[in-house]
Symmetry: C2
Subunit: 200 residues, 2 copies
DNA sequence: TGTACATCAGTGAACGCGCGTTCACTGATGTAC
DNA sequence: TGTACATCAGTGAACGCGCGTTCACTGATGTAC
């Protein structure tokens, strides 16, 4: 590697970390506002830069949004994966509890994901990358069901379980007239009910 | 009732039926476009009227959207209710099959519902009326679970079941690279898995 | 019957705003000679 | 060492568009006398 190469590489890394700062700001904004209400100007303000600068790092708004979404998605996969690694023969109730807690605590990711799933305006390529992220998460659930069941239909069980968890959080997220704690504990209770049904 | 009264009543009915025409047009537009992409002008065009006229019947956009959502919601409640009425001792697999089919066929309602659930910008009053609509649907599910189980925890079972169904449709609605038929049959398969788990 | 007036559905044009995106520019840093 | 130039992060202002909403107006219909 020549001197010029490593210099360029450093530059590239700096650029990459600046990109990261913007994505991080985006994640923070998504945690505060409803998805459709988030603007480029919001994110720029949160990052402390001019909104024009964002276009030096991302071709357009959608690309930034999708990247922010995927970064959060990678975190949940890592989280669940570690949970299974650390506790051998982990119980599904435990996974459920943590998964719902994660979704509630990080509901920006969750809202983004739902938005992209329901919105038809995403390019095929972007849908594809989001979907491969989803498959990685499903693979983690596969590991649990592979241990639990006799090995058949594992993927379908993962799908059903994943869908049910999503449904719980989406359906009861805005339960009116209840505090955040009450809503969360209701979701956890529903998660337990579903998890138990998946045991047999 | 005086002559003037009945005249006024007729006028009121006409006004009501014109409102209905607008809501109907809104439903049709929602069935074609993603929720956030629907505009007042779209609906006016579908109804064949000037977009300014909509404001003679609805105070603002949100009120129209919520009303369209609730009208579709009333239909699904009616549908499920009738299903239970007509078939005594109906099996939960059957209800699941119809419910998922209804959600897929009427996914405009479904998208609206999800939008309002995830969006925090709705007035308390409007969230309240949407929620009472949801409760009416849950009451139908209660009827099924009351017959099936020994009577305890019926409401929680309905919640969990309802959430799981929602989750299936949301999560796998935009499965990339699959035809509409393939996606639907996948959802039905997942619905069957969940329904069977709710039998015991 | 005719006339002046009230009511109200309906309209096209316009307002005002906020958004995504682009543009012309600055200023710092590195490079060639 | 000094100088002319290239590169590129970063910026504020502006563009263009589409949206929700309002406004001034028309025209039909009913009413009072």
């Amino acid at each position: 590697m020549t001197k010029g190469d490593s210099f360029n590489k450093l530059k590239e890394q700096e650029r990459e970390s600046r990109r990261d700062l913007i994505i991080g700001a985006a994640e923070r904004v998504f945690s505060k506002k409803s998805f459709n209400a988030v603007t480029i100007r919001d994110i720029a303000k949160e990052a402390g830069i001019s909104h024009a600068l964002i276009y030096r790092y991302f071709p357009d708004q959608q690309s930034l949004f999708v990247e922010a979404c995927m970064r959060r998605g990678a975190k949940i996969v890592e989280f669940i994966g570690k949970l299974i690694d650390d506790n051998n023969n982990i119980k599904i109730e435990k996974v459920t509890e943590h998964f719902i807690k994660f979704l509630v605590d990080n509901d920006q990711y969750f809202r983004m994901m739902t938005h992209f799933m329901l919105d038809g305006s995403l390019s095929k390529e972007k849908i594809g990358s989001l979907n491969s992220g989803e498959r990685v998460l499903l693979a983690q659930f596969d590991r649990i069901f592979a241990k639990m069941s006799s090995g058949k239909n594992v993927r379908m069980l993962s799908h059903a379980y994943f869908a049910a968890m999503n449904g719980i959080v989406i359906t009861f997220r805005n339960y009116p007239g209840r505090s955040r704690e009450e809503v969360t504990s209701h979701m956890q209770e529903l998660g337990r009910i579903i998890a138990l049904k998946f045991k047999k």
